[in-house]
Structures are given as structure tokens and as C-alpha cells.
């Protein structure tokens, strides 16, 4: 079974990068690129739509077997369900990789290799960790979608939760992105330590992954993942 997870994850990852939701997110990111500036490059605005749609893709992909009515067929295979869930979780890294490309390109275009950007007449040096928030966020939100999809059997919930989590009154109060560079933070934007914020986002991803896997198996692995994720989530939230 050892090799099944990576093999299946590769197949799922290929499906993620070709998924209409992800392609739409990529299109939105491209459309945003010409408008990118020093503020938005650290706020990761260009990948907001990709993030939301990755939630949807994670939800739909992990729920695919149930929707297709294929439970019997898959249950008769030697690989247990947790392997399939694990593969879908790992495939969210593919969406994260796409977001990384956008983060890298926008960083190179706006900030450049010297790491310095002139904003409102002042030279500012944003942290590359700020730009890394986007890929972390996309991956974590994808894992969140997998978790929700694994615990609910109602696909209609996916778009509702997606909107609620990211742009609704709840979503606006969650610090999905923090600004480490005060000069680049728009008016009421949350200031914080991007390194700890990455730990916070990683925590969201790991907790989501743990909860998704615990649905399939109460073995030590998923429980340990959940525990590590909780520690990261709490530490990140407290120290960011």
C-alpha cells in the first residue's frame, strides 16, 4: 500500500490542475496581474478567487465516489478509503504550486530580485514570507474543502460554505492574510508576523487534513496529524 498514496496523489493532482474550478481561478489570477502593485503583491489579491475555488475543488473531489454511487466498487479494492482521502489532500498541493507560481511572478515583477519596492515615495522591503501566504492559504483552504466534503454529504453546502468562509461576515473576521510591512498595509488591514501566520495557515491545513482522515480511520497517523495541526493553529493564531 506504501506506493499507492503517491501514485494516487499524482493522478488526483493532475485532475486538480485541469479542474474547471482551478482553471477559472488561474484565469482570474491572470486577469488580476496587470493591476498588481506593492500593496497587492503582499496581500495576494490575485489568488483570492483561486483560493475560493480550491475549496470547492477539494470538496467535490473527495465527495466524488459518493456522488457517483461508486462506494461498492471502491470498497472492494485493497486500498482503504483513507488512502483516497489522503491522495485528494495531497493533491491540494498542486493548487498551492499554481499559487506559488503567481506569487513568484508577481513578486519578481513588482519587488524584483533586490527585494526593495518604492511605495508612495518610500523604499520598502517586504518580507518574501508575506508573498508565501498565498500558496499556503490556497493549500490550506483546499484541505478545508476536503475536510468539509468528507464530513458532509451535501454538495450544495460547498459553494455556500466557500462564500461564507472567505467573503461573508465570518470570513472577513478571519485573518486569512496578514501584513508584515506596515507601510504596505491598507487602512484596516491586519498587521502581523508573516512567519507565524504561515504556521497558522499550516495549522488550518493540518487540522483539516487530520479531521478528514479521522473520518476514515482512527489510527495514530490521522490523530497525530490533527494534534500537530492544532498546536500549529493555536501557536500561529497567538503569535502571528
Amino acid at each position: 500500500m506504501t506506493g499507492v498514496l503517491p501514485a494516487l496523489a499524482r493522478i488526483e493532482a493532475r485532475r486538480v490542475v485541469r479542474h474547471p474550478g482551478v482553471l477559472l481561478g488561474v484565469l482570474a489570477a491572470f486577469a488580476w496581474l496587470p493591476a498588481i502593485d506593492a500593496e497587492t503583491v503582499v496581500a495576494q489579491d490575485e489568488i483570492a478567487v483561486l483560493g475560493m475555488l480550491t475549496f470547492l475543488v477539494g470538496f467535490l473531489n473527495v465527495d466524488r465516489v459518493r456522488r457517483d454511487g461508486a462506494d461498492d466498487l471502491y470498497a472492494a479494492a485493497p486500498s482503504p478509503r483513507r488512502v483516497r482521502t489522503g491522495a485528494v489532500l495531497l493533491s491540494m498541493l498542486a493548487a498551492g504550486a499554481i499559487a506559488s507560481l503567481f506569487a513568484l511572478v508577481s513578486w519578481l515583477v513588482v519587488v524584483g530580485l533586490d527585494g526593495e519596492v518604492v511605495h508612495e515615495g518610500f523604499a520598502v522591503r517586504p518580507s518574501p514570507l508575506e508573498a508565501a501566504q498565498g500558496p499556503f492559504l490556497v493549500t490550506a483552504i483546499g484541505a478545508l474543502g476536503v475536510f468539509v466534503g468528507r464530513w458532509t454529504a451535501r454538495p450544495v453546502l460547498a459553494p455556500i460554505l466557500m462564500v461564507g468562509l472567505l467573503v461573508g461576515p465570518v470570513g472577513w473576521n478571519i485573518p486569512w492574510i496578514v501584513n508584515g510591512t506596515a507601510a504596505l498595509a491598507p487602512g484596516e488591514w491586519t498587521l502581523g508576523d508573516p512567519a507565524w501566520h504561515l504556521v497558522f495557515l499550516g495549522g488550518i491545513g493540518l487540522v483539516s487534513a487530520g479531521l478528514a482522515l479521522v473520518r476514515d480511520s482512527r489510527r495514530r497517523g490521522p490523530v497525530a496529524l490533527l494534534a500537530v495541526g492544532l498546536v500549529a493553529l493555536i501557536a500561529g493564531a497567538a503569535l502571528q
Binding site: 501514485a7 461508486a70 462506494d71 461498492d72 471502491y74 479494492a77 485493497p78
Partner: protein, 286 residues
């Protein structure tokens, strides 16, 4: 070779309903056909043979192992091919992608070898040319063949095929018979069907289920022989419990002879219908 499937007093209850009522059955090499009306317990038995469902009581052994044990169950699944009644293939997968996905779940982890095996089984069911067409674009018959292809992955020792010919046209059914009869050499195939022609054409043994119990276990010829002396043709419809007008205008009767009836050679279907008795009458009326 030992019997691949051994059931001893197996029961399965869903709430207060008994789907299998103490079935004792050994299934060995070759093709065994499972016949029965809707609700007879066929699919329950097939799901048990595929390790998807556990019995409520009795003893079940598959490929010499007890599927209640997790390690044994995994080992059985490695040697098992299963085609459920409703395979539930993802519409956006291509035929190749779908079979490739199942092959990965069946632990074919090396990409090249896996792809070669996927191509082999798709070719075997005559879908080599449409391997890269999406499932949603395939006809119902082609989808059944994709489902059969995935069951053939790795040439499993035990094949459990639940109504594989449903929705196939005669040509496709013929192709299916070719493939399955080839597969059955040195393997065990358990085939559930409503099509008595498939049983007559393929199976060395037939088991009939009714209300969760085995009502017949023998060869197709023996099943047909049950109806010897009970099948008639006549010009009028009267008397017999089961009767229908055939294409040539005569009435075929199973049961007591109507006036002026002529005794005819029974078929496997006649034997099966006689075995079902009242159930068949109700199904025909429906």
C-alpha cells in the same frame, strides 16, 4: 483448486428483513450463474463475495480466507475482480483514466506497468480505440465493458460480476461471452444475471435464489430438465399458470397442458420459470 467461495449457513438481515436466510454454497472453478427474481438476495450475496458486505451470521470464506480478518480481507481483494450492478463511474474520467484509477487502488503503483495493464484490459473488452473518450460520451454498453475491464485488472482468481450484461445489445453480449468464457479458464467466476440465455451459454453450474434461499443448484441442463413434461405449445391460452404468445402465433405454456397442447423440448428459461412459480407469474403480469 479449492472452492473460491464457501458459504455455510450464511444469513444477512437488514433490520427485520432477511435478505439471505442460511445459504450454504460452494463455488469453484468455472462460471457459476446466479439466477433469481428481484429481491431474491442475489446482490447481497454478490456484495458478500466481493468483501463489501459482512454476513450477519454463518461462515463465509473467500479464496480460502476469512474476510472478517482485516489482513485476510485485503489479501482477498488483491485477488478479486468485482463488477457491481451499478459501477458508478465518474463521468468526467476517460475510460483509460477510470481504469487507471482503479488499477492504482489495486496497487499497480509502477506507472508503465499499470498503463500497459490498463491498455490490455481495455483491448480485451474491445475498447482499445475509445480508451481516451470520456465516460459520459460512451454508450451504456460501452460503460458496462469499461466496468468489466476494471474487474479484469491483474487477471484475478475470483471474478464477481453482478448483472454484467444488463443493457447490452446482442452483439455486445456475444463479445462479453467471449471475454468471460476466456477468463473463466482456471478461474472462478460468479455471475449474477436475469438473462437465462447467458447462463445457458456460459455457465457450467447454475444456482437459483428465492427469498434469500437456494432453491436450485445444478447444471443448466438439469435446470432445463425440471421443466420436462411441463412445457407445451397450443393454439389457445388457457389452463397453464404461465403462458405467452410466441412470435409465430402459438401459445407456449408452462405447467398443466391446455386442451390440444403439444409437449415440447424445455429450455433453461422454462425450468427457471417453473422453479419461480408464483413469483414468475407476478413478474410476467407486471
Amino acid at each position: 483448486m479449492n472452492d473460491a467461495i464457501r458459504l455455510d449457513g450464511v444469513t444477512k438481515a437488514y433490520g427485520g428483513t432477511l435478505a439471505l436466510a442460511g445459504v450454504t454454497l460452494d463455488v469453484g472453478e468455472g462460471i457459476t450463474g446466479l439466477l433469481g427474481p428481484n429481491g431474491a438476495g442475489k446482490t447481497t450475496l454478490m456484495r458478500m463475495a466481493a468483501t463489501v458486505l459482512a454476513p450477519s451470521g454463518g461462515s463465509l470464506r473467500l479464496l480460502g480466507r476469512d474476510p472478517r480478518d482485516l489482513a485476510a480481507r485485503v489479501e482477498i481483494r488483491r485477488r478479486l475482480g468485482y463488477m457491481p450492478q451499478e459501477p458508478g463511474m465518474h463521468r468526467h474520467f476517460t475510460a483509460f483514466e477510470f481504469v487507471d484509477y482503479i488499477a492504482t487502488l489495486k496497487e499497480w503503483t509502477a506507472r508503465d506497468g499499470r498503463h500497459e495493464e490498463v491498455r490490455r484490459v481495455l483491448r480485451a473488452v474491445g475498447l482499445g480505440d475509445v480508451a481516451h473518450r470520456r465516460i459520459r460520451a460512451l454508450s451504456g454498453g460501452m460503460r458496462r465493458r469499461v466496468a468489466l475491464a476494471q474487474a479484469m485488472l491483474g487477471s484475478p482468481e475470483l471474478l464477481v460480476l453482478d448483472e454484467p450484461t444488463a443493457g447490452l445489445d446482442p452483439q455486445q453480449r456475444l463479445r462479453f461471452r467471449e471475454v468471460v468464457s476466456e477468463l473463466a479458464e482456471e478461474r472462478t467466476v460468479l455471475l449474477s444475471t436475469h438473462q437465462t440465455e447467458d447462463v445457458a451459454a456460459l455457465c457450467r453450474r447454475v444456482v437459483a435464489l428465492r427469498e434469500g434461499s437456494v432453491t436450485f443448484d445444478g447444471t443448466p441442463r438439469e435446470l432445463a430438465e425440471l421443466a420436462r413434461g411441463h412445457v407445451w405449445t397450443a393454439d389457445r391460452r388457457e389452463g397453464a399458470a404461465l403462458s405467452w404468445r410466441t412470435g409465430d402465433g402459438a401459445h407456449r405454456h408452462i405447467g398443466d397442458p391446455p386442451r390440444g397442447a403439444r409437449l415440447v423440448e424445455p429450455t433453461l428459461e422454462d425450468g427457471y420459470l417453473l422453479l419461480l412459480g408464483e413469483t414468475a407469474t407476478m413478474e410476467m403480469a407486471a
